[in-house]
């Protein structure tokens, strides 16, 4: 119960895997939700640094001859908790004396903080920016470019991101993927999904051309141009396997040739479903190569949500599966910012999703299918890639696990069958697709995994990004030109502009700026370096309790192009 309630907080302190709770033993299913209460109790300690400081002072003076206290904040807090008991065992008077004594020479207890450059190097490690190339000094695309970044909390990070330009059709694809029960599925989806979408969008002739090229061993037409950070990798070993599955898909598309022009919405839905199907099939068939065999099984048994945007001219499609979000930043006429959601979350907070899930299963399962805000009491997102545990029949699962490699057999999780598992599949990868026609006031789109949305309200997200983008890129030069301006007024204006520039200057990347706020915001909505430093210096094993992986893509729209064409059309 504790874990469930704490997950509702903005800052998730739920210990262990959040989306799927792994029971220690299959016979004691409900236990997991109460697992590890200790960190939850620690939480107020770490939040309240005052208490922490006093404790560490006391501990410091008492035990400095016993142990050299690590200056590392998080560790010292852990120790404080246990040493507090020790401290109270001493006689109060002695304790008091020593406390006074300590204060006389230990004026401020030594604390560990990351310096601003260290903080920056952590925040900027994964940042990536892409600017749509200009031709003849002009960018005629409706997209100016995008900034993306991710901050790990899991080790290794389970989030993935992708961005690519479609080369055979127009448009740009951007997506964030949030993995659970490992990163294998998110990795596979981030590599493969855009190819499935691109292929779905291709006209019949191009598909034929590509197939002929493969047949005769000629060079393939490039389908996608990727925009990758060096840390975004593709699996080399599986590429052949993935390619064969993709080729089967386009061969079917060629055979199915309907002669109709491709509808983007349909293409997106087909691509999502097809990829999930391929992931499932590959795991059932297996692979003679033992490494690949294990890989496809890991992909299938882990899961991933996906939130993908396709921008082509003024047409923006967002396809979402799971609980990542796409948020449009709209600048009102008065200059203020408002957030327009272009996706709905597929989780227990979404009434219609609960309704859908319940309708898909017999009345008898109504109570068990969504329990404790989780699918079958286990899974938080109600739609996802992979997760064959929630898709395959029990027989199939058992057969695959038994014939699978030993590593799979040793894994408690894969062997365990969800409770009340009667009418699979319970889970689908089918996305909800929202179409939006871009308007001049639509300035940017934020795609982010739930790690961001848990910590920040969408309105704040849009405001922070909006102010950042206008501050840096749209700081118009001042011209006096005919107005009555006094020296004093001008001076005031310039000083204010200077202050504004210096505050946003440290980030060149809107996504980094957003992460800085998400992790470091204090109660006043401004970045608190002390807090930022603490959050980033948490050791790996603790980080996941205070925050989730965060992945953000901020796409900036070209309002000049959008505005100009709107005028033409109306």
């Amino acid at each position: 119960m504790l874990a469930a309630s704490c997950c509702e907080r903005r800052m998730c302190v739920c210990p262990g895997p959040r989306r799927i709770a792994i029971p220690v033993r299959s016979s004691r299913l409900p236990v997991f939700s109460d697992a590890m209460p200790a960190p939850t109790q620690l939480f107020p300690l770490i939040r309240n640094c005052e208490i922490g400081r006093i404790y560490s002072t006391v501990c410091h003076c008492h035990h400095k001859h016993l142990c050299c206290l690590s200056p590392h904040l998080a560790h010292s807090h852990l120790r404080c908790a246990s040493q507090k008991k020790l401290a109270t065992l001493c006689s109060p008077k002695e304790n008091f004396n020593q406390f006074i004594h300590a204060r006389s020479y230990v004026s401020t207890p030594q604390r560990f903080y990351l310096t601003p450059p260290q903080v920056n190097s952590i925040l900027k490690a994964n940042e990536y920016s892409f600017k749509v190339p200009e031709f003849d000094g002009k960018n005629v695309s409706s997209v100016l470019g995008f900034d993306s970044n991710q901050l790990p909390a899991n080790a290794p990070i389970e989030d993935r991101r992708s961005a690519a330009t479609c080369l055979q059709t127009r448009g740009m694809l951007l997506g964030v993927f949030d993995g659970h029960a490992g990163c294998a599925c998110a990795q596979a989806v981030s590599e493969r999904l855009f190819y499935y979408i691109a292929v779905s969008l291709l006209p019949h002739e191009t598909l034929l051309e590509i197939e002929n090229a493969v047949e005769s061993g000629r060079a393939l037409l490039p389908i996608l141009q990727w925009h990758k950070h060096p840390n975004d990798y593709f699996s080399k070993e599986a590429s052949k396997l993935y390619f064969n599955s993709l080729r089967t898909y386009w061969q079917e598309l060629i055979d199915l040739n309907t002669g109709e022009t491709t509808d983007v919405k349909e293409a997106l839905i087909n691509a999502f479903k097809r990829l999930d199907n391929d992931i499932s099939l590959e795991a059932q068939v297996g692979d003679p190569n033992s490494f690949l065999n294990y890989l496809v099984l890991r992909v299938a048994f882990s899961g991933a949500t996906a939130c993908v945007a396709h921008v082509d001219g003024f047409d923006l499609h967002v396809a979402n599966t799971g609980d990542s979000r796409a948020m449009l930043g709209v600048q009102e006429e008065d200059g203020s910012w408002s957030a327009v959601a272009l996706s709905s979350d597929h989780n227990a907070q979404n009434e219609s999703e609960i309704e859908r899930v319940k309708l898909e299963h017999p009345k008898s399962e109504e109570k068990s299918v969504v329990k404790q805000d989780r699918l079958l009491g286990l899974l938080m997102p109600f739609r996802a890639f992979g997760d064959v545990k929630f898709k395959w029949s029990i027989e199939l699962q058992k057969r695959v696990v038994e014939s699978g490699p030993d590593q799979l057999n040793d894994n408690e999780y894969t062997k365990f069958i969800p409770p009340n598992y009667h009418t699979p599949p319970y889970l689908t990868a089918e996305p909800e697709v929202v179409h939006h026609r871009l308007r001049p006031q639509d300035k940017f789109l934020v795609l982010a995994t739930d790690g961001l949305w848990e910590t920040m309200h969408r309105q704040d997200v849009v405001r922070i990004v909006g102010e950042y983008l206008t501050g840096v890129h749209h700081q118009q030069p001042i011209a006096v030109g005919g107005y009555k301006v006094t020296l004093g007024q001008m001076h005031g204006l310039l000083t204010e502009r200077r202050a504004r520039i210096s505050s946003v200057f440290e980030d060149q990347n809107a996504a980094t700026h957003l992460i800085r706020h998400a992790v470091g915001n204090n109660e006043f909505g401004t970045v608190d370096h002390e807090r930022l430093s603490k959050m980033l210096s948490l050791p790996e094993e603790l980080a996941r309790m205070y925050r989730d992986d965060i992945t953000i893509i901020v796409v900036q729209f070209n309002s000049h192009v959008v505005g100009a064409c709107q005028n033409e059309e109306f």
Binding site: P477, I478, A479, V480, K484, V485, T486, L487, G488, M490, H491, L494, T495, R497, R498
Partner: protein
């Protein structure tokens, strides 16, 4: 749209000849103007550029009587930087030649309106330079003491007095100020028009909207210019193209390198104050706040030189006329803050405009004047470092004299184009350097300042070795030279903190280097010196050199001669040492910054003879100077040759082996007067020889030393250096070097007649050494150079260099003493008697220190061994 900013002039009311046909053309930006007058086919002089500089040159040339002059302007007259110039004429300058130019300009502009009838907007406002710090006040006092000996009134005053002179100024953060009542403001465009009009009346033809594509050159001489309206043949070409001068210089087949680069410069114009500011309100310069403020049409005009300038037009062509460039308020913010701090009452004053007008800057903050070293007849006057109006008049006068008389009436070496070479021509270098130069205009100018940008261009092969041993570097003509060596473990102050007018933090370091030179042996890398080789098939080399140099060079092979390269008036064009390598070839060593000047002089005067070869071998040799009594021991141990004076007399040159390396030119001379040797080492042996010297020298206490120690040594020895003490107006007789002149040998050489005449008449100035008597090295301001010398309370001259002598434990200043007639101010003959019978004082920033004058060095005090050159000296002294 053109609008005239500072002037309400009069394109219509004034109708000089060159604009007789149409006056309306100037109010429109018409594409095809009817050209009223066709270009002449030829002229004696073509001047390019119709700004204040070009018109000033034309004006002065016509005044000197030259008539056949054409001035070409690509846009309209005074439409470049001149149009936007703030128009402040100020004599507050650090260099004495700049001070003289500004003083002359001021006097010229003052009477220009009367002379030409054109309103120039001249108002004698006076100027107040503010000091927010004590160091700044010292700097102002130094200028004040120079101004007053020039007869320019000036006054150092307390902050309270400033408040009386200016109604708006906030004096709370000031420590003092300098008031120069004669400084003025003008409308620079109108001054330029007045000069053009006066020149035009004297026959100068002025053509606007005519641009020059390139200058035609044949056999290294100017033959004409090619314009967009046809060619003009000419004998002289003067490049006064301002920001465009660099590109114009490179457009010739034989490029002329004119190192300058433009930076954006901002100033603010306001509407009138409620109670309009009087037009004669003094101009304010607040260098610590980086701003200047003058009154302008009842309001103010205020600009400045910011710390982070914006270079512009690096890649290429500027506009024909300067249009309004982008007004960058954010960039101006620090200057605006500074303005409001200085005059808080201006908060409510309404802005009229922020003007962005690019100005051109040079690599050393001094303007560029003179004839090209590569193309005869190609003259340049440009790169005014935003002081075009202050310098315009004087600079134009000097350049006109240069053309007409072959030389200007003053020593303009600090401004001479030939101080630069092609090596300063890189666009990247210029861009980086001007970003340092522009803020420097208002930075504190302390002694021994080194530029930080554009460094490490020319280095000796030993650079890294020396740097690793703690060398601190200075730069001369792009060459890195060690100043001194910081011993390991010792840390000097950061650069900014060691900016001082007092005793510097390296005092003890240099002291120990000097001590080592006196007692043991030191090695100093002097590779930057300019090195030429002159050789011929027959006796041509000797013949030429005998004519070009004042001392007798027909000496036995292996001898070294100190000699001057004089001009027709007997002044030093160069001071060098020449070694006779064999019968037909000579090795010549000159100061570093002579590389371009000396080359040009030799080329100009040498006959065009294919059998006579002149080669610049500067880059071929690394020069190491071994100084000190143990130099002999080090060298003889390394060469297995006796190096004692009996075997290797002073001023002797021999090729020998040092260590494993053969063919090292060893010369028994130093540039400081200490015993020692110069080693000219082919560069591939440099590291080897250096390593050998250091390892063998260890037991003799060898150490590295730098130029500061060298400087102290040579000044206490009364050695004059060309470029600092000697210039083109100094003759050998004036600095006690008659023994180095072959007057009695019956040989002709350049400058002989002038020297004969001077010998007969006596000299009017004399190089003198001063030892400061009541000067406290630790507490008093240090002398630098340019300090006035007073004899019996009367001004008699200025110092040219100074240094602390660690031997005498006193400061030594070198300088020239003159004898001005009390009534007429005429320069009279200065006899040794006149020198000896005076009580002397040196004025350092307004404080006078007693000094003892000496005409001869303390030779006996220093040397253990009598050396050849001192024998010569004493021989001369005996006469």
């Amino acid at each position: 749209m053109f609008f005239r900013l500072l002037s309400d002039v009069q394109w219509r009311t004034v109708r000089p000849r060159w604009r007789s046909k149409s006056s309306s053309q100037h109010t429109t930006t018409s594409v095809a103007d009817p050209q009223p007058i066709s270009l002449p086919a030829q002229a004696q002089v073509v001047i390019c550029g119709g700004g204040i500089i070009g018109t000033s040159v034309a004006y002065h040339l016509s005044k000197l009587g030259w008539k056949d002059i054409v001035l070409l302007e690509q846009g309209r007259l005074a439409a470049g930087s001149t149009r936007f110039c703030a128009g402040i004429v100020s004599t507050v300058r650090h260099l004495s030649i700049e001070l003289k130019m500004a003083d002359y300009s001021n006097k010229l502009y003052q009477q220009l309106e009367q002379e030409t009838g054109i309103k120039t907007g001249y108002v004698k406002t006076g100027s107040i330079s503010l000091a927010q710090t004590q160091d700044r006040l010292i700097s102002l006092k130094r200028i004040a003491s120079r101004l007053s000996v020039m007869g320019i009134p000036c006054q150092i005053m307390a902050p309270k007095q400033v408040a009386h002179l200016h109604p708006l100024i906030n004096i709370h953060d000031l420590v003092g100020a300098m008031y120069v009542p004669d400084d003025a403001v003008v409308s620079s465009a109108d001054v330029s028009l007045a000069l053009a009009s006066a020149a035009s009346r004297k026959g100068v033809q002025i053509h606007e909207r005519t641009s020059i594509s390139h200058v035609m050159v044949q056999k290294g001489c100017v033959t004409g210019v090619e314009t967009d309206r046809g060619p003009i043949e000419c004998q002289y070409f003067v490049n006064c193209a301002g920001q465009w001068a660099y590109e114009l210089g490179l457009s010739n087949e034989e490029p002329v390198s004119i190192p300058l680069h433009a930076c954006e410069h901002f100033y603010l114009l306001t509407r009138p104050l409620k109670k309009p500011l009087e037009s004669n309100t003094p101009t304010i310069a607040d260098p610590d706040g980086r701003i200047y403020i003058r009154s302008w049409q009842g309001g103010i005009l205020s600009g400045g030189f910011e710390k982070n300038p914006k270079p512009i037009f690096t890649e290429g062509r500027n506009q024909l006329e300067i249009q309004n460039l982008h007004e960058d308020w954010d960039h101006f913010e620090p200057l605006l803050s500074s303005l409001l701090r200085r005059m808080p009452g201006l908060e409510a004053l309404e802005i009229m405009q922020l003007v962005n007008c690019p100005e051109s800057f040079t690599p050393d903050m001094r303007c560029i004047m003179g004839e090209s070293p590569t193309v005869q007849g190609y003259f340049v006057l440009a790169g005014m470092n935003s002081a075009g109006v202050s310098f315009g008049g004087g600079a134009g006068k000097y350049l006109a004299e240069w053309l007409v008389n072959g030389r200007p009436a003053e020593n303009v070496w600090p401004l001479d184009l030939k101080r630069f070479g092609a090596l300063q021509s890189s666009r990247t270098f210029l861009r980086h350097r001007v970003m340092e130069v522009m803020p420097l205009i208002y930075d504190l100018k302390v002694p021994r300042w080194d530029f930080q940008t554009g460094r490490q261009l020319r280095t000796s092969p030993l650079y890294d070795r020396l740097d690793a041993q703690g060398a601190r570097w200075m730069e001369k003509h792009g060459f890195e030279r060690p100043k001194y060596f910081v011993p390991p473990g010792k840390d000097l102050l950061a650069l900014d903190q060691s900016k001082t007018f007092y005793k510097p933090d390296w005092f003890d370091i240099v002291g120990s280097e000097v001590k080592c030179c006196k007692e043991a042996v030191c090695v100093i890398d002097m590779s930057s010196f300019t090195k030429f080789e002159i050789s011929s098939t027959g006796d041509q080399a000797l013949e030429v050199l005998q004519y070009l140099f004042s001392n007798d060079l027909d000496v036995p092979v292996g001898h070294i001669v100190h000699t001057g390269m004089l001009n027709e008036t007997g002044g030093y064009e160069n001071d060098c040492s020449i070694a006779r390598l064999n019968k037909r070839s000579f090795f010549m060593i000159s100061p570093t910054d002579q590389q371009v000047h000396c080359w040009a002089w030799l080329k100009k005067h040498m006959p065009n003879d294919s059998n006579l070869l002149l080669e610049d071998v500067t880059w071929k040799y690394t020069a190491l100077n071994l100084i000190g009594p143990r130099a002999v021991d080090v060298l003889s141990e390394l060469s297995y040759a006796p190096m004692t004076p009996e075997h290797f007399p002073s001023l002797f040159c021999k090729e020998m082996s040092v260590g494993y390396a053969n063919g090292i030119r060893v010369m028994s001379m130093t540039h400081t007067g200490e015993p020692g040797f110069m080693l000219y080492i082919p560069i591939e042996y440099a590291l080897h020889v250096y390593n050998e010297l250091m390892s063998v020298g260890q037991k003799y206490g060898i150490r590295n030393t730098g130029y500061y120690a060298l400087r102290s040594l040579r000044i206490e020895k009364f050695f004059a250096f060309w470029g600092q003490d000697l210039d083109t107006f100094t003759t050998p007789l004036e600095c006690g070097r008659e023994f180095r002149v072959k007057l009695d040998k019956g040989m002709d050489f350049i400058g002989r007649d002038a020297l004969m005449q001077q010998k007969q008449d006596g000299v009017c100035k004399r190089f003198t050494m001063f030892i400061l008597e009541d000067h406290d090295t630790d507490l008093d301001l240090w002398p630098w150079w340019g300090e006035p010398i007073y004899r019996n309370g009367r001004y008699v001259g200025k110092t040219t260099s100074s240094a602390y002598s660690y031997t005498l434990e006193r400061h030594v200043c070198l300088g020239f003493v003159q004898n001005f007639d009390e009534e007429t101010g005429e320069a009279l003959v200065v006899t040794p008697d006149f020198i000896n019978r005076g009580e002397y004082e040196i004025d350092i920033a307004g404080q006078r220190f007693q000094a003892k004058a000496k005409l001869y060095p303390f030779s006996s005090l220093f040397t253990q061994r009598r050396r050849k050159d001192e024998m010569e000296l004493s021989g001369y002294h005996g006469k």
